[in-house]
């Protein structure tokens, strides 16, 4: 019998995402894919999945799902979400063997905007132009090209290894994931200049790297808009449309930065000051409206080195698992260094659980 998850509740913005839809940018097709590739990859690698396997992306609106029919190996990671199995608190990132009848629930915690729930083998959804990634605006991928909702039933696309995994006792399988790269980090987001940095005044560029910016509520899978000092254009704000890559910092007539993310259009007609480096994209995606940040200029060499370092760290995820007791006692929680996180998370939840309605 195939293991499946029944969605009991899905906040706005829950979708199926995989590594993204590639090869059709030239035809105007948005790549989609996870907002935070680092957390997405962490969850997949913990299960031995391909690092692009289809997983659920959960927004601050949260999600709860019921395991049906057969045990299901899952892993989750992301911002500091509050995860519970049948009401029992879990770590911020973990690998679990869900039993039929168990309910796994996630809600926004002390920080972070996105979390990923992966299943062994990846979620089974029809391939739409080579990808299962949901792009709601064009109605592609995932479940009917839309956000998940109550009553959706999601199947795991089990690998042959699943039988082996499922023969394990939960006590051998359940583990907390110690992923330091998912911790909150106040460091400036690193930016490589170009392609249109020459469209801005020296004062505009100086302000961009010297001052603080705040994420506005205009933040979705397509782009995050920041409030802060005005970045003045030297030669107007219209260019003849050209390509847009992940992390592009586009500055339109309002002189405020817009960072283009997973659901970006492949082309656009505003000057792009620079690009947030790939190593910092996940961290930026985890920001919530009202949070502040800074940007720092780096060169291509440093951007590449940072990416490779982070990818290597994430690749080592399977060696960073710590056994998790099924019924956490206060002692177990202390051992798992969870108390601080839980307290913060619960304080944060009342403030944030409704965002991003």
């Amino acid at each position: 019998m195939r293991a499946r998850l029944r969605v009991l509740r899905a906040g706005p913005g829950a979708t199926i995402q995989d590594g993204g839809r590639h090869g059709f940018l030239r035809f105007g097709v948005t790549p989609a894919g996870p907002m935070d590739w680092t957390a997405f990859r962490t969850a997949n690698l913990t299960l031995g999945n391909d690092d692009r396997a289809a997983a659920l992306e959960i927004s601050a609106g949260g999600l709860s799902a019921l395991c049906e029919d057969a045990p299901l190996a899952v892993a989750f990671a992301g911002g500091a979400f509050i995860w519970r199995r049948d009401g029992v608190l879990l770590p911020q990132a973990a690998r679990l063997l869900l039993r039929p009848g168990e309910v796994l629930a996630a809600q926004a915690g002390s920080f972070g905007a996105w979390a990923y729930l992966a299943v062994e083998g990846g979620f089974d959804a029809p391939l739409d132009m080579g990808s299962r990634a949901t792009h709601v605006r064009s109605g592609m991928g995932g479940v009917e090209g839309r956000m998940l909702r109550q009553g959706d039933v999601l199947f795991a696309d089990l690998l042959p290894a699943a039988a082996r995994m499922q023969s394990l006792e939960a006590s051998e399988f359940d583990a907390a994931i110690d992923a330091p790269w998912l911790a909150r980090d106040a460091e400036a987001f690193r930016v490589v200049l170009g392609p249109q940095d020459d469209y801005f005044t020296a004062a505009g560029l100086t302000a961009f790297f010297a001052e603080e910016f705040t994420l506005t509520p205009r933040a979705d899978r397509m782009a995050y808009r920041f409030e802060g000092p005005e970045i003045a254009h030297a030669r107007g704000h219209d260019i003849v449309s050209d390509g847009i890559a992940l992390g592009a910092i586009q500055i339109a007539g309002d002189k405020k930065p817009l960072v283009l993310l997973a659901d970006r259009q492949p082309t656009g007609g505003y000057p792009k000051l620079g690009h947030v480096i790939l190593a910092d994209i996940g961290r930026l995606a985890q920001m919530r409206p009202g949070e502040a940040c800074r940007f720092a200029a780096v060169g291509l060499t440093e951007a590449r080195a940072a990416l490779f370092r982070l990818e290597d760290e994430i690749a080592a995820t399977p060696s960073l698992l710590h056994p998790l007791r099924r019924e956490p006692t206060s002692k177990a929680l202390i051992e798992a260094n969870l108390i601080d996180g839980v307290v913060n998370a619960l304080e944060g939840s009342s403030q944030y659980c409704d965002w991003p309605n």
């Binding site: 035809f27 003849v240 050209d242």
Partner: protein, 239 residues
Amino acid sequence: MKNAAPRYLPAGESALVVEFGQAIDPAIHDRVVALDAAIAQAELAGVSETVPTYRSLMIHFDPRRLTTQGLIEALAGLKDAEVTRARPRRWRLPACYDPPHGEDLAEVEAILGLPRERIVALHASAVYRVYMYGFAPGFTFLGGLPAALTIARRAAPRAPAPPGSLLIAGGQALVASVAMPTGWYAVGRTPVKIFDARRERRFLADIGDELVFERIDPAAFDALSAAAEAGDAGALEEA
């Protein structure tokens, strides 16, 4: 100037913009399309995909396999390579300019001071070049609109024009693949789906291809529209 060296502009550590100019110009676009074809032919290791636009080519690559500098050097090496670009295809698209289609024609008439039939004849007689796709899958940006049809964009967007709308503004033309609020003017509509995921050829035209419109009446539009819904491409490639 035409063969001035392109500018190589990084777009993060995994993309490079090769810019041939700043204008919408067939000669510049020819160079974009030629480089795109040369990269495809050379099968450059580490290049994942390319995005041709009006005046530049964006090259996405795997930073594990290629550095920005290494890519620029590889592109320089392509210059001497034999680039045999396929002759652009020419697609004949049926187009209806009669009510209920071409819903903004009266406004265009008033703004340009041209009679409706003249506007339609001009739009339907041009040979258009597919410069790029953008905004949404199959949203086709065209060059080649007769200068007499140059019209400024609206100050505020109009209500969504239906899919297949033939829009004009700013001296450009486009075929809309999805309904969207737009600052452009709808002068006609094609029943053809430029993008249909069910077809083997999902996107009708390649960048650099040509489009011509062939006028049809509303009855023919309805018949072809039904055929397109059923999966028929509905557009003929000219010999």
